[in-house]
Assembly symmetry: C3
Homo-oligomer: 164 residues x 3
Amino acid sequence: MIFKQPTHYFIAAGHAEGYSPLNAFDQALLEAGVGDTNLVRMSSILPPSCQRIEPIDLPYGALVPVAYADMVSSNPGEWIAAAVAIGVPADPKLPGLIMEHHGVGRLDEIEAQVREMAVQGMAYRNREIQKVVSIGMEHQVDKHGAAFAGVVLWDESVRGREEG
Amino acid sequence: MIFKQPTHYFIAAGHAEGYSPLNAFDQALLEAGVGDTNLVRMSSILPPSCQRIEPIDLPYGALVPVAYADMVSSNPGEWIAAAVAIGVPADPKLPGLIMEHHGVGRLDEIEAQVREMAVQGMAYRNREIQKVVSIGMEHQVDKHGAAFAGVVLWDESVRGREEG
Amino acid sequence: MIFKQPTHYFIAAGHAEGYSPLNAFDQALLEAGVGDTNLVRMSSILPPSCQRIEPIDLPYGALVPVAYADMVSSNPGEWIAAAVAIGVPADPKLPGLIMEHHGVGRLDEIEAQVREMAVQGMAYRNREIQKVVSIGMEHQVDKHGAAFAGVVLWDESVRGREEG
């Protein structure tokens, strides 16, 4: 756990209703394509030279490091949103910054805010940004709803799940 | 961290009073037999073919992935409870689902709810259940109390702590 | 993740203002010297024979197990504090206990409390204490402020970041 540097990442987002708040969260993970894994939350840096890939089918039950934002609500009619943004550095030898944000409201506001947070955090480091990558999801609650957005770290040398 | 698939699991629960809320939580972990380790919380899947074992003495300070529910309260007289449930799939090549629930109240309600959450989550996946495994604990608060229930993932190839 | 026993640790603390609560937290991590890594939170044991070292420059983006306390506030003028304490056992074959505490208030109170929590937790174990090691940080909020204190587990066989 201490050693292994993830070499690749992908971004993912989903939303869902569910039988309970936790079921809604679980189903938002499935919608995002990262369900059926064991997400381990971390604070929240893009390792140097970490390459973006398209989302892959993670092995069932794998322990996967992820930086994520989520929002769960049981207030019918309420809009909720969650978003993440990555400040990707111009210098690939330096790390990038992942920011998370969530709240009651629409995605455009939440995602604009999380992008600004990534910009501000890179500025604090005096670290030039090549680009900001972001993703988010919004959801209007019926009974129990969840929105999820995350950055999944991965190692391409590991094969994903065999399609069955 | 990304690679290793846990091959075994056990369930554990405990409750305790303590000098502070965190002391109560720490002592509930000890009562559950998972104290003196470094629990790393994860969301919450039983890997395929993961076999249930009896609780073992985990090595002191080991980094151990766990899905857990906990409830801490400082309201004297209040009943609190925490429970986890695993939807074990009929097909051992597929993963199971671990759900966590906690709250103010008695264990029978909390555990019935978490079992239903596991059933609902497996139904959402259209995944047949072989059985639901659950465990929980309740506690009536005196000053600072805690209840804990968890599913500990493990690898049988690793030896537990030598009895000293 | 299950196997590797960290062999060394260091303590760190920082505080900062920021553009948002999460930016303040991120910048408190940087001030503490543990920014630009991926902290994985754990509950909170010092492994047996774990040796204290001076803080090192952790590799960028490394997955690092850490026990920490943090406090974030957006109430202008408010004092906040976070502190951790380690009950180091007299017998090096036994594990120590890490406690975390945070709140509104000044550091002297918060740190005295977390030290007592470590003493109480070791007393509950009937485990003799050699010493209590603690660290903390306080912050007076301007707009969005954060205080952080943590115990970082590490393996000396791994080299830190090359100075660039």
